[in-house]
């Protein structure tokens, strides 16, 4: 009795192993066949779709089973066409009901199908998809939310900016970098809602807004960021200094020069670094004056920024190698050393 059970167990185990192998092989060959068929279809449709894109011929009409292949081909060209040409392609897809099916698929049951549909709608840059994608920003699946945000950014419809910016306020559901990424892709049209967020009082959101404003580099944000430099929060001040360095411009530089005297070393360090990024030779003298600081980071950033200010910056560094303070001398020498090495190559 006991042996029988054992024998059966042994047999079952080995059969499962064999079944696993058979199933994998079968699945693999099925997949290969499907892919071959798909490749054939793509080859057949390629010439007519190309004719449609390049010569303005009408889009080939295909049965429902071949619409996915058609869509795939059109998507390949979407990144290369702009304006009216792109509209013509999406219109042709719409006539055949392809886009309508995609819009439906944004509400499909499996999350990966929803994500896939959202992705394609973004690649098609379909304005009509904005409401559906804004809806998908609240999808239970993180992936779908992610893709929807990315697609909204690709469509660049200003109507989507408030929804995206609003997502910044919910860090538990959103990765800051993702939303930031998409808002950056929207460019200056994202600045007004970001300035509104900056005026709010949620610390994390404000930090994110400052970072994104720095990346968008729209001078419209300069006054607001300069205002942050007067606030009491250390992190906000340091972030604002970094962002102002990216924006550049005379107003930003004046504010950054003032920030070199900030009571906190973190802000001084960021201001010094930002001035190097703005790379205006007139700031060399004040940077050199700020260099004898107690803090290592401030000294490093001052010296590295000076190295980026061209001849005047180098002159100041040479002068600093004869400074009374040994730490200042060392740092100036170190940067000149690295700068010399890099410059020689």
């Amino acid at each position: 009795m006991e042996f029988d059970a054992l024998t059966i167990a042994v047999l079952v185990l080995y059969s499962i192993s064999i079944a696993l192998i058979v199933a994998t092989v079968a699945r693999g060959s099925l997949r290969a066949r499907r892919e071959r068929r798909h490749a054939r279809l793509i080859r057949r449709l390629r010439a007519p779709v190309e004719a449609c894109v390049v010569e303005g011929q009408p889009m080939p009409i295909v049965p429902a089973s071949e619409q996915d292949a058609l869509l795939e081909l059109v998507l390949r060209f979407m990144s290369a066409v702009r304006g009216r040409d792109a509209d013509r392609l999406t219109d042709a897809l719409e006539e055949q009901g392809v886009t309508a099916r995609l819009l439906q698929r944004v509400r499909a049951r499996p999350a990966w199908r929803r994500a896939q549909a959202a992705e394609m709608l973004g690649q098609l840059r379909l304005r009509a998809a904005v409401p559906a994608l804004v809806g998908a920003l609240d999808d239970p699946s993180e992936d779908v939310r992610t893709v929807a945000a990315r697609s909204l950014a690709a469509i660049r419809d200003p109507a989507a900016v408030p929804a995206l910016a609003g997502a910044l306020a919910d860090p538990s559901r959103w990765t800051l970098s993702l939303v930031a990424e998409n808002l950056m892709a929207m460019g200056p049209s994202a600045v007004p809602p970001l300035l509104e967020l900056l005026a709010g009082d949620e610390h994390n959101v404000r930090v994110a807004a400052i970072q994104i404003l720095g990346e968008i580099r729209d001078p419209a944000a300069t006054p607001a960021l300069i205002g942050v430099l007067d606030e009491s929060d250390l992190n906000l001040r340091a972030q604002a200094a970094a962002a102002l360095g990216k924006l550049g411009g005379p107003d930003a530089e004046r504010a950054l020069l003032a920030a070199l005297d900030d009571p906190q070393w973190q802000v001084r360090a960021q201001a010094a670094k930002a001035l190097g990024r703005a790379a205006h030779p007139a700031t060399a003298a004040p940077l050199a004056r700020a260099m004898p600081d107690d803090n290592w980071w401030v000294r490093v950033n001052c010296a590295e920024s000076l190295a980026r200010l061209g001849a005047e910056g180098r002159r100041q560094l040479e002068l600093l190698t004869r400074h009374d303070d040994r730490f200042v001398r060392d740092q100036a020498n170190a940067v000149l050393d690295i700068y010399g090495v890099r410059g020689a190559g």
Partner: protein, 481 residues
Amino acid sequence: MDSLMHAINDFMLAYFFVINLIYTLLLLISVRESRQLDRRMACGGYDVILRSPLTLPVSVLMPAYNEESTIVHAVQSLRLQKYGEFEIVVVDDGSTDSTLDRLVAAFALEKVDRPLRLTLPCGRLRGVYLSRQIANLTVVSKENGGKADALNAGVNAARFPLFCAIDADALLERDALLRVVKPFMDRPRETVASSGIVRVANGCIVRDGTVTEVHTPRSHLAALQVVEYLRAFLTSRTGWSRLRSLFVISGAFGVFKKDAVLQVGGYRTDTVGEDMDLVLRLHRHYRERHERYRIVFIPDPVVWTEAPEDLRTLRKQRNRWHRGLLECLWASRRMIGRPKYGPVGLLGLTYNLVFEALGPLIEVCGYAILVVSIALGLVDAQFVVLFFLLAVGYGVLLSVAAVMLDQARSRRSGTPGDVARLLLFTVVENFGYRQMQTLWRAQATLDFLRKKQGWGEMRRIGFESGARPRKQARTQSASGS
């Protein structure tokens, strides 16, 4: 006597069934998890991460000790990584061959007087070198102090918020860095460490620093290790990662948040399992502070490594791995089975203590008792044969599942002939190879016990002081580079 033998036999049977039950559960969890990961990969947005200015820059740390034959090649291959901003920090750990000279010649290195912040203690530095040709290459030369010490020096020299520790003989796939950093982009606040799969490069064709064709190695020993690695990574680590109790992040390829590592005091230099030890201390740090954190394994980022093809080297490697595990378990003994430490303490460590650490000893005893039982006529020979077949069958099933999972997921497992050979080895490994491993690990356990008697006390003190949190590391990133 009879009843005692029966009790022991029953215990062995129970042990056998429990361990196989655990393997099966891990396998099922892993299959589910990797299916989900595959689906998610389709909309991973890797190109966005690649281009984004917000992508976290990474310092790739490569400790090298007497690697003159491979080091230049390794650096060149690293430069081809498809990643936004990253730097390469090679730490020459007091090599006695021409490792440093070759680097100097190949990349026009020049010694610079660059101040290095010694945030972590490490061996005396001999010099910092920068390249005339490549902007993101730094070479730190120091006196020999072992891999952990070299890594600490590398962390000191690293400029970026993430660092990736890799072996000098490892070959990263082009998009490996991008993929392994993805969890940090998805959840920047929580993720503290992530790692990818290590695969056996023997037999594969390598061109321009990447593996272009995958084949099952000719060497039988290497082929056995291919099966072993697939099983360990695909069907075990994926599962442990899902259960949030992963603490094995291989030293060959792992990415860490620098701040977190600085807070737990960096790598410990007095253990052979420095990689596992670090991850355990990270777990402990965050659990004790009740902070949310994630340590993940993802089976996409691939690093290729050369597996030893002779028994002697393999034995030494396995002996080191097992002693490393035992040292880590000993150092973290207070976490084992404690609910306070969450799934790591309850599941991960307990499992590793009972089945990985003590397992080999139990197995060796089992074999001995089996022999005695047969000699005394206590068990039926037919039963023994059937039971052995059952055990082999289970081993085969798990290995086949791992190989097939790999087949289903990726298309880079060689020709049908290669796969057939791998399947053959899933059977072969049960006759000799596994038993050999068991013996080696039992031997390693004895080595560990013998050594611990000598200087166990000192080590304990070292551990306690090593786990001290470091305050100053916190402020640095908010304001630094």
